[in-house]
Amino acid sequence: MSGGSSAPVGPTRRGRAAVIAVPSLWLLLFFVLPFLIVLKISFADTRLGQPPYTSLLEWQSGLPHLVLHARSYLRLLGDSLYLAALLSSLRVAAVSTLLCLALGYPMAYTIARADAGRRNLLLMLVVLPFWTSFLLRVYAWIGLLRNNGLINNVLLAFGIIHEPIVMLQTDFAMYVGIVYSYLPFMVLPLYANLEKHDVALLEAATDLGSRPWQAFLRVTLPLSRPGIIAGCVLVFVPAVGEFVIPRLLGGADSLMIGRVLWDEFFSNRDWPVASAVAIVLLLLLVAPILLFQRSQTARAPT
């Protein structure tokens, strides 16, 4: 039987149109339109006063002219700072994604293979930190990683080290923070995928002579590909624009594009440049975003 009933009639059709229209209009207005505005402002110039950017339409001799300033984009291309920030963000996001995958996959696998009762408990344990404040947890890491923080104190007390290791305000701390915050986003999609695997497939593989690790490589791993993709995209894309963690845990030299955007906006009050940064970032992320959407809609009914 086909999913979704056939064309409705009369009042039902109107009702349906309303149900489709309300969220669509909301998202168009508050999700899509803002991006168009960002695009528009990226082509504007700064000025004093409110709002701190020029209008794109100028009236000259009674007719509207479209005035586009490429200043923001030229600045991005010219100043190597932006490129460096972008590249470093991509690097950090990629490394974090791999670390999350390395830690998250075994976790998801173990949970998926556990007994039904245990499984729910373990899942809950993994998800529970997520329900507590993200900010507070990052803050907790500050307390742990400081020079006179818990970890250093314990190591000093046991005589393993003689001077506190500088962990805060470093790349290391940043990676710890990012992996820590995004781990559930990797574990959950992986678990959702692995849980659906038919154990009979693996049993068939071992029955036909595969060793357990071979069965894993040949059967489990390929089947978990959609979960891996989903998890990686859900970690990578937001991580590229991550701002809070680098600010709190990273060093002054760990330049992330999210921070650049924030600084341009709040410190420099240069909205057009901030917009341009956002647009460039968005363009870069389009490919992974589309990949994610493709994997989501692949499961949709025809």
Partner: protein, 278 residues
Amino acid sequence: MSVRAGGLSRVPLCIGLAFLYLPIVSMMAFSFNSSRLVTVWGGWSTRWYGELLHDRQLLQGAGLSLRIAFMTACGAVLLGTMAALALARFGRFRGRLLLAGMVSAPLVMPDVITGLSLLLLFVAAAPLPLMPSSRGLATIVIAHVTLTISYVTVLVQSRLADLDQSLEEAAMDLGARPVRVFFAITLPLIAPAVAAGWLLAFTLSLDDLVIASFTAGPATNTLPMMIFSKVRLGVTPEINALATILVALVAVFVAIASGLMSRQQRQRRREAQAALHG
């Protein structure tokens, strides 16, 4: 079963869980430290809790955040359920691809981009009628709702997909109009997903820093914003107390919820057994 995970693969799980809980446990421990410094253990004390409760500003921020979160959750559930219904039940319709795209995009969008874009929208739209003229509670709620619709839709849509459509058809066949079908049959059966979506939207809103920073006005300060500024200045043990309270609340809530669920499961199993023998 021969394919049960071996003992070896349990190690990453334990490491991962330890990793996840280390900061939480340390925060909880030090919230009772009477000394301000982390290096020195000054003995058990609840003074930070006292200070927390007297911090008027912080409490105000918390109150505001809770209000915002509540409104966000309600709005997100309303819009998200509609979107999920449309995507899961209406088959192919004009604009389906657009709606599906708009619903899944926020899930992967970096916060800074959505925050920036919404702020620019509010600034540009301020002179127009109906739009909030100054940024504050309303703008934050709008921003949060937009962000959290996706999460609700994902949860509800997945539940709807699993729901047997012939139940809704049977209801229609028996004389119920589509609206009645939704409220009498569909909604009770997707209620757990809707509730989960509400909670998720609530949590995300309560926890959000970046978007609130962009879309709040100069006068508005949400709890995360306050915590952020405090944290930048230095470590304050009050924060530990706050975190501990939060963790305790969440843990209690989750324990109750899972207790209810497992009781329901046990009851179902008992009834199924009875049916087999009955």
